[in-house]
Amino acid sequence: METDVLIIGGGPAGLNAAFEPASNGMNVTIIDESFSFGGQLRSQTQYFDHLPRPFNRERGTNLSRKLIDRLLPFDVDFLPQHTFVGKYKDGTIGVSHKNEVIPINAKKVIIATGAAEEAIMFPGWTLPGVMTIGAAQILMNRDRVMPGKDAIIVGSNEFAFDVVQQLKDVGANVHGIVESDSQMRLQNSQKIEAFKNLGIPLYVNASITEAQGKGKVEKVFLGRNGEKINLDVDLICIAGGLMSILEPFEIMDCKLVYNQALGGWIPEYDKHFETSNQSTYVAGNAAGITSIGGILTTGELTGVSVMASLGVLKSEEAAERKRDLWHQLYQIEGIQRPDTYHARLAAIKDFNTSKDRTLTK
């Protein structure tokens, strides 16, 4: 199989990366290991603010549909249940589908495989009933299954509060939010207000010391400054944060770098989102953990970069488009998540410095 642009991962970053090349007449192939496209947005019923144009405040599930719909008029091959499994010696990508491996030759590859949720370890964390908030959300919003009746949430980021609301909506009791830090991590004042109205206890400076139960979670023990608290719960939702999924980058021979503010190990990339492998680009959470606005904007930036590198866009026009998009990224990520934005700029600078050093060697 041949394609101009192969996009690995059909979540918001990959779908948005497809738009520019596709709407400019290039053949784009998007693969996803799942049955359908949209990635995590498919189970995110919460509203997202601060989206880049042309999108407005929107539920994740609706945004997912819009991202797909606007690609439909163009030459885009959507390949669901196609899993990136490896690479041939000559650089051809291998994708498994049912009982075969399909070689795909692409002029450019965009990796938009997103992030995975971090685990948190405590005695009993492997009991059924302990799951990530993402898993709880998939059960509720995609599979229409109630993950538990009596829940506790570990971690207090924004995503955790979205899931608290959704647990309440399906009728679960949420018995508390546990945060090891001295204050909650959520900073969105609207959401903090909404949370206060729910009357759910917030345990700060606290962590789980143990989960117990016969074959599944029945009880959880919290420690807070030497004080012991125990609660009867059947669901422990872990909001341990996100980390970029790295496997595809190692297979594509992309160098990795550690950047704590971007979620830990990430691929190195330049301001065009090109990795150390010149045929391979990165977009979205795979390029460092960010907000949905950051995910969409980096996706679009990558799409423009790929077009420019294939000569579809004139270099002046491309430069202008990228300048605009970087400004947009500043307005969205730079304001919502300044630490992320500045860490990203620093990482790009470091990568350029090391590239220059290699060139002059």
């Binding site: 499994v85 490896g86 690479k87 041939y88 010696k89 291998g94 491996v101 070689p103 021979d253």
Partner: protein, 361 residues
């Protein structure tokens, strides 16, 4: 950590660790083992770990392998359970015309006391029902088996440490000099002096030789191996190319590529290896593959081990061989004899490095 020793061994794989352990048994020498990485990070941790005897020719080389296999049960009594299993080994052939080669092999190996049965298709399938009915026959020997390489190296090191051997990991050797009767080894972690030096760096021995101006005629050969999920007992024997580990995982692969120290894997070899798996054992078609790994193995230019003194450099020794796992017990024993007694119980003239010079001459 001291900086002066009687003996310095460079390389802590199966071969280097075995030599250290065997030398330490009398507790008469101060021994230091230096490794550029951590044990099992190199060749010894990336092998199927057959203890493999019967097809190794010429017969005097097969004989050395046989003696080493015979030492395994004794070694286990001394250092602990390395999961050595004498399963018997089967090397299948697929064409009836191969049978005369098989008979020739059996005849040649009989001279060295290696008993080989040349089996018919029916006999092969009686012994190992999972093998393909397309097999024409196989050579079989009771002498072959396999071992857990991770346990083997770990227990060599533990036993050597018990005998006061010093190990220095993550310590790359930069240079080696000899003045009067002392070797000075310059490493990342400082300088060490030793009266005797043993090079056991596997594929990296070539670089070590360069430091003392001796050309070590070895190549690097990459092998890629597939690993399945744990399966119910399927294979009773060690098959030439395939074996089932104690935990049920099946390891498959026999590939050779000269690509330097490049340890990547690729779909080209994975496809060919998977085809080999199904050709040999049809039931493996339904098995799940969880990972593929590769190892860089050392290959002396004539395929035979290099064991003994280094010419023109008194008190310097080398032990470099492709079958390090199979041969580690006997090589440890022989090197210990060579260093303590100046001679060995088995003639190792055939393995002298000077044979390469003679060949050229």
């Amino acid at each position: 950590m001291k900086n002066s020793y009687d003996i310095a061994i460079i390389g802590s794989g199966a071969v280097g660790s075995s030599i250290a352990y065997h030398l330490s048994e009398t507790k008469q020498k101060d021994i230091l083992v230096i490794d550029k990485g951590f044990p099992l990070a190199g060749t010894s941790g990336s092998t199927q770990a057959w203890v493999w005897v019967h097809p190794k020719t010429p017969s005097w080389y097969g004989e050395l392998n046989m003696y080493s296999a015979e030492l395994y049960p004794i070694l286990e009594k001394k250092i602990g359970d390395v999961e050595y299993r004498r399963t018997g080994g089967i090397a299948p052939f697929f064409s009836e015309s191969d049978r005369k080669d098989a008979l020739k092999l059996a005849e040649a190996q009989a001279e060295a006391g290696i008993n080989i049965d040349v089996l018919s298709r029916k006999e092969v399938l009686e012994k190992e029902p999972a093998l393909s009915p397309n097999i024409a026959g196989a050579t079989f020997s009771q002498l072959d088996g396999n071992v857990n390489p991770f346990r083997l190296v770990e227990l060599y090191i533990k036993a050597a440490k018990k005998n006061d051997v010093t190990f220095s990991f993550y310590n790359r050797v930069h240079d080696i000099q000899k003045r009067k009767d002392t070797f000075t080894i310059h490493t990342e972690k400082g300088e060490f002096a030793a009266k005797q030096l043993i090079l056991a760096g596997g594929p990296w021995t070539k670089e070590l030789g360069n430091m003392i101006n001796i050309t070590i005629p070895v190549k690097q050969v990459r092998g890629q191996i597939l690993v399945t999920e744990p399966l119910a007992p399927l294979l009773k024997h060690t098959i030439g190319g395939i074996r089932q580990a104690n935990n049920g995982e099946i390891l498959i692969g026999y590939s050779k590529e000269e690509v330097g120290y490049d340890r990547r894997t690729d779909l080209d070899v994975i496809h060919d290896t998977a085809n080999m798996a199904v050709q040999y054992v049809p039931d493996l078609a339904k098995a799940n593959v969880v990972r593929c790994f590769s190892g860089i193995r050392v290959m002396p230019e004539d395929g035979l081990p290099i064991i003994g003194n280094l010419p023109g450099l008194e008190n310097a020794f080398i032990a470099s061989m492709h079958s390090g796992i199979t041969l580690s017990p006997i090589v440890g024993t022989l090197m210990s004899e060579l260093i303590f007694d100046g001679e060995t119980s088995i003639d190792i003239q055939n393995y002298d490095i000077q044979r390469f010079e003679k060949m050229k001459a």
